[in-house]
Symmetry: C2
Subunit: 208 residues, 2 copies
DNA sequence: TTGTCAATTGTCAGACGCTGTCATTAGCCT
DNA sequence: AGGCTAATGACAGCGTCTGACAATTGACAA
């Protein structure tokens, strides 16, 4: 049961987040000032910074949920699966259920639009990549424990996760600059690209 | 022949760069203000911003040279080599000759120290990753042209370069947090990690 | 209900990165 | 020497973000 105070806090946070995402996706991230966001919710600028460490944190609030969703999916994979297969299945299944994880906070369409803003705004892209590296570190430790190897001495967990993450990023980039912006489309693209990793990449590309 | 004016400009730029790197590597990037850098060279803050678009640009000035060095190395690989082999040979040879490319601007030791600052400063790490993505895009187009495939329809160039870049980043990270900070050390590590990409990563890690 | 405590908020001041403007200085060229 | 142009300094201003303090508001007990 939430107290009145907590409900009020949640409401202002939600209002700030929605106002921020609305402004970011409609007029651009850099073009939106914190004052604008605060004014839209009729709170002081200082209050915005009490709910979000900065503009950036508001921009990634939904991404945080999606990341947690994906990492949880990896954790719930059967331990008998080899690591790469676990990652692959987790991300494919994760795209299928990301709807439910997000919809209660923000419409999925807003999530996808914000994703494109992140990809096309240099500052946000940089932050996104750094966040990805952090997520990869967490995943590497997860896989290392899962497989019973030491993440500090065995480079394979970090290598595998980094390579996997690289494919995922290329996928996201291709998706966000292509036509079909549905969740189904990115799922299919992910499968296609993951299947390419292997002999297709290593050898010569010329005799096809 | 450089005019007096141009020599003077080059000297203030060099002085600003050296002061910046000195301060960044000794007291940290975030802890260093632009005013400090400008004061150390006895110019106005405004002048600093006439030579560098921002603090960040000063931090990456040497990295820019190293990047160009590596891309040039890839371009000079024999066209008969398969793409991954070209990347591999270029980066290994690049580490052998990076000395000469940099030494005229900054002592190599400073380059290596600054590299560690970049890896350990969130803001700079983010910028570094974004820069890497840009470099990877350039490399992908290079390889696509080299192999005669279309970079817009064939995902292999971007995929290969992204995977390769991921390995390089893991290498740099492991190197910068390990003991031996020599150029030889990172060269060896690069070779070791690149050799791991393949069957070693894909299958199960358990029965070793 | 009322008073007390703690949490939330607004206001103000200020640091820092960065930009535009304009007057001043300094190299260049005839 | 004197005019032209490029480099610089000084100043004002915007936007992000933080610290400090006072005012407000909900929570909870007497």
């Amino acid at each position: 049961m939430e107290s009145l105070r907590e409900r009020k806090k949640r409401r202002t946070r939600d209002a700030l987040l929605h106002a921020a995402l609305d402004l970011f996706t409609s007029q651009g991230y850099e073009q939106t000032t914190v004052d604008e966001i605060a004014d839209a919710v009729e709170v002081s600028q200082r209050t915005f910074f009490r709910y979000f460490a900065g503009k950036e944190e508001a921009a990634f609030a939904v991404q945080v949920i999606a990341e947690a969703h994906f990492i949880r999916a990896v954790r719930e994979r059967p331990p008998c699966e080899p690591p790469l297969e676990a990652l692959r299945q987790a991300v494919l299944e994760g795209w299928g259920t990301v709807n439910e994880a997000i919809a209660s906070v923000v419409p999925v369409e807003m999530y996808l639009r914000m994703f494109r803003v992140i990809e096309s705004t240099p500052t946000l892209l940089a932050a996104h990549l750094r966040r990805s590296v952090e997520a990869e570190e967490a995943l590497a430790r997860l896989l290392a424990e899962r497989e019973g190897v030491d993440v500090e001495t065995d480079p394979r967990p970090r290598l595998l996760v980094a390579v996997f993450g690289a494919v995922i990023r290329v996928t996201g980039r291709a998706w966000s600059s292509d036509g079909d912006l549905s969740v189904a489309a990115i799922r299919d693209l992910t499968r296609t690209y993951l299947d390419l990793v292997g002999p297709e990449l290593i050898g010569s590309w010329r005799r096809d």
